[in-house]
């Protein structure tokens, strides 16, 4: 449509015409063929035609598609296209064609990537090669091609070379790019990357102490609890089977964190990871709080964040165990069941050493809500029920050697420190069940739960 206009433009100004697919186009004036689309990619062309005004080598103005007024203004030809419509939107540039965009980004933008290249021979299976190199958690990983890593990096505005954290145990600086490589391998979509970055940041704090969490003989790993509207935007599942299989965001965000610890930090089972048993959650353990319909303020809000914030909370936890009470119809009764189950955490005679996440299912939450108990009330009632007499806890009491020193026999000891129970609402709409996730050595000598805001 615009080809017949170009000689008039060329007569009044210095005109360079660039054509994408057809080197003979437009025919009316000579043109440069952008056969590898490098000019289009580097100039961020997403629509053809695009008219750019360049002065002294710098673009000062542009218009996309056909707008008669804009073309006249930019070219200075005041009667340009008098017989053409006022406006036509143009077409998509080949450089943003979904079939080509990733390859172009890797070819031209991939120079920004610094990761060492691993050669894979033509006849070699990429997934098997990654097993052989020891880069997987025992499950197949998605091969991290430059195209996939470039696509993953579109999930964040952060510079690929920005250092996110220093990852134990090898204390290696991890960049946004390296996190993206591992996120690709874990199976993440680009929109999950900010959550993985926040999880890596939180894990590598002195408070969370991922080195200790990794090295301990106890069966714990990082449990990632997500809050905020973003959990729904990326399709996480906090409802039925929230702690189980089947949801890509839940599974791959947790897995990506563990792959960063393994591959970048060098934390591998049998080496620095000395777990006696481990737990299946050490492949991935990540779920969102079910905020919709919850009678409780969310975990993130209770930890000082706004309901509109997207956050991740990391907890050093073991595998989940179920709390069954299908008979309790009062908050009081149900709290007593919870307390009895929480008391057994790690050993009924061990106190104060371990925190716990209590994941209350919607049907149990309703029992509390019906009696008007909010988060604070539930926690206060649990702590009140978990004040234990020293006589039951000392070495040897009840025929059990494990326990506290004998001089504490006259004391009353709480099972948990005051902030040692993290209450989360999640699960399916049917089932009078909740879940306890036991922790590891708590406090400054072990691991503290850490919450971080997720930013793009």
């Amino acid at each position: 449509m615009v080809a017949p206009l170009l000689p008039a433009v060329a007569a009044t100004t210095s005109l360079t015409v660039i054509t994408q697919d057809d080197p003979t186009f437009p025919g009316t004036v000579s043109a440069r063929h952008d056969d590898d689309l490098s000019l289009s990619w580097h100039h961020d062309i997403d629509t053809v035609p695009t008219v750019m005004v360049v002065r002294d080598g710098i673009e000062v103005d542009r218009t996309v598609g056909w707008s008669r007024d804009e073309w006249r203004r930019l070219t200075g030809v005041t009667d340009l296209g008098a017989d053409l419509p006022v406006m036509r939107p143009g077409c998509g540039s080949m450089s943003v064609d979904p079939d080509l965009a990733d390859r172009l980004a890797a070819t031209f933008g991939g120079r920004a990537l610094r990761s060492r290249h691993i050669e894979v021979a033509e006849a070699e299976d990429e997934i098997e090669a990654l097993f052989d190199l020891g880069y997987t958690d025992g499950l197949p990983v998605v091969p991290p091609t430059p195209e996939r890593v470039m696509r993953m990096l579109t999930g964040t505005t952060r510079d690929p070379q920005e250092v996110v954290a220093i990852v134990p145990p090898d204390l290696v600086e991890v960049t946004v790019e390296k996190v993206a490589v591992n996120a690709v391998m874990a199976g993440c979509l680009p929109e999950y990357l900010p959550w993985v970055l926040a999880a890596v940041e939180a894990a590598c704090t002195d408070e969370f102490n991922i080195h200790g969490v990794l090295a301990t003989t106890m069966p714990v790993g990082p449990v990632v609890i997500c809050n905020g509207p973003g959990t729904r935007a990326i399709g996480m599942n906090g409802a039925g089977n929230a702690l189980g299989q089947g949801n890509r965001a839940n599974l791959t965000i947790g897995r990506a964190l563990q792959l960063v610890v393994r591959n970048v930090g060098g934390g591998r089972p049998g080496e620095v990871d000395r777990a006696t048993h481990g737990n299946p959650g050490k492949v991935s353990f990540c779920f969102p709080e079910l905020e919709h319909g919850s009678p409780f303020t969310s975990l993130a809000v209770s930890r000082g964040f706004a309901p509109t914030d997207d956050t991740i909370t990391l907890f050093a936890g073991e595998g989940p165990r179920c709390v069954v009470d299908q008979k309790a119809r009062s908050a009081d009764d149900l709290a007593t069941t919870f307390a009895a189950c929480l008391r057994t955490l790690h050993n009924p005679k061990l106190v104060l050493a371990f925190d716990a996440v209590l994941v209350i299912g919607p049907e149990h939450a309703r029992v509390f809500a019906d009696d008007g108990w909010d988060r604070e009330r539930v926690l206060a009632e649990l702590h009140a029920r978990l004040q234990l007499p020293g006589t039951e806890l000392v070495h040897g009491a009840g025929g059990i050697a494990e326990g506290v020193p004998a001089h504490l026999a006259d004391a009353t000891l709480p099972k948990f420190r005051p902030d040692g129970i993290l209450l989360v609402h999640a699960g399916g709409g049917a089932g009078l069940f909740s879940t306890i996730i036991g922790g590891w050595a708590n406090g400054s000598t072990g691991s503290q739960p850490v919450t971080r805001k997720v930013t793009t």
Binding site: R116, E122, P144, P146, K178, V181, N182, N209, H211
Partner: protein
């Protein structure tokens, strides 16, 4: 055509390091015993100390503030500057 993937690791190649030669005798050695603060680690180290002293070594005791974290840099420096050998006790 050769394809390539991006390396997901920290790209550290630890150079191969030879261990120090084995001490020929305990005489004249200053042996650091590092208690990592796990229960009953001291029982193991007490017995080791007896055996080492019998063998003619001088023993110095050290203790990590918590077993959950690596030894602080000051403690590592103290051991490295005072001792010729070190034994670290795990427990449980």
């Amino acid at each position: 055509m050769t394809r390539f993937l991006l390396d997901p690791t920290g790209e550290r190649h630890a150079p191969h390091r030879e261990p120090l030669p084995r001490a020929a005798s305990l005489h004249g050695q200053v042996v650091g015993l590092l208690d990592i603060s796990k229960p009953r680690g001291d029982i193991f180290l007490n017995r080791l100390e007896e055996l080492l002293v019998e063998g003619g070594a001088e023993v110095r005791r050290f203790r990590k503030p918590t077993f959950t974290k690596p030894a602080p840099v000051d403690l590592r420096h103290e051991i490295a500057t005072q001792c010729t050998l070190v034994i670290e006790a795990l427990a449980d």
